[in-house]
Symmetry: C2
């Protein structure tokens, strides 16, 4: 077995594949092909990293050291048999937080997971150096190879089981995706009233900084802590034209209040 993973094929050209392929190409790995069903995405990423692309599974290069599959979970399971069959010696990983490693079982002798826990948008450059990578492989040698590879772009590499990873993923959905939705609702309420979202950035920053020093449970503030009925009912009144937002407001306020009583 090789002592390092050199040639990499990327399956997928979405946000995660884009940032990972660029980062590995920058640090001298040979990204030798991009596969995506969406030709525009495949071509764009291939141009960025300077490699060929294909939109047909039958044309995926066989025998690369590593195949990194970063596609929607639903697509992953259907792609696995098509991409593994012709490369029995290669190592296959996916990047999905919530998918067990076992999806590879019966398809690839050497397999694993490389989960970068971060929010990736194509338009925003990513500094990988502090991004936590959670690695899993079905044998210790491949786990070592994947840790070495991920270690070239990040200083924050861990091993995690599939069970741990699915809790990391759901926790990340709350801490990142749902938090961003709170920012978006904030932006919507300000814009609708002619106020700039930028005014909120010092508060957003402090809310994030605070949990470096206090636990979020200790850091909780706001009218829901003491369930201040006056404020809460005025706020619900302000949201009366937007029942979805009113429902979110009420549910999270109750959840905060319940958590304070524990």
């Amino acid at each position: 077995m090789k002592q390092t993973l050199h040639s990499i094929v990327f399956i997928g050209a979405g946000n995660v594949a884009t940032h990972l392929a660029q980062a590995f190409a920058r640090c001298g790995c040979l990204v030798c092909q991009i596969f995506s069903r969406t030709e525009d995405s495949a071509r764009t990423l291939a141009e960025q990293v300077g490699c060929p692309y294909t939109t047909s599974t039958g044309s995926i290069i066989s025998g690369a050291d590593l195949y990194i599959v970063a596609v929607k979970d639903a697509v992953l399971e259907s792609l696995i048999p098509q991409i593994t069959a012709r490369s029995p010696q290669s190592l296959f990983v996916h990047t999905a937080g919530s998918m067990p490693m076992d999806v590879w079982k019966g398809h690839a002798a050497r397999h694993g997971v490389m989960y970068p826990m971060q929010t990736f948008s194509k338009r925003r450059p990513v500094d990988f150096s502090a991004i936590p990578f959670f690695i899993e492989a079905n044998n210790a040698a491949d786990a070592g190879l994947l840790k070495e590879l991920a270690g070239r772009i990040s200083g924050n590499i861990h091993e995690a089981t599939s069970e741990q990873r699915r809790y990391l993923h759901i926790a990340a959905v709350f801490a990142c995706n749902f938090t961003n939705r709170m920012y978006a609702i904030c932006e919507h309420l300000l814009k609708a009233n002619g106020l700039p979202f930028e005014a909120m950035l010092p508060l957003i920053d402090e809310t994030a900084r605070k949990v470096h020093h206090l636990s979020p449970a200790e850091a909780q503030t706001g009218p829901a802590c003491r369930y201040d009925e006056n404020v809460i009912s005025r706020h619900l009144q302000m949201l009366s034209d937007e029942p979805e937002l009113a429902q979110i407001y009420e549910l999270i306020s109750k959840s905060i209040h319940h958590s304070m009583k524990k």
Copy 2:
């Protein structure tokens, strides 16, 4: 009328009063008394800023330049008549985002609002320099005095009407209080599975940094964007013992998905 506000009485000794009184005392204002019904809080804050305290409204010093009232909204309305009567020349402000300036009407000739939009926890020091202050007063001269005073501790001073301020406040509840609840749920899920909350900090930081450069609507990622049923139903299954969290998960996921279709 004086050209500057020098002597200040604080009504309240909670998180907001504590940080404001400390900040004004540090920059050379004369904080001349703390009032709070809760003797422990009154004494603690009075010791910190080096002034007397009282727990009785009848013993509040009269004739100070400024009374800053930072108490629960429900308490504010009942306190107003008690604290204003003996100081007809003084300026009175409250610090509440969601309370109109009008609560002072008929009680204090000179009145206004000084709303620092930030999350205050007693245990965490606050750097006021970038905190936005929203000022309102019932006459231009007092608005000027309040801006000058707030400008001693922050470089981010604005005037805002009561109507604007109540939208700033509800927006801040989403961006700060509800965001922190998302962090707290994240921490709960990780701890329950033996994983450290600290692992999430790079993602929390990037989620906050991102909206300095992309609008939150553009920055949205995660399974709810594409309403990935596989991931979402696995996550709801994982939360099946905690119906409140499952309800929050489902409602915010739907809200993200609806927002993507607009």
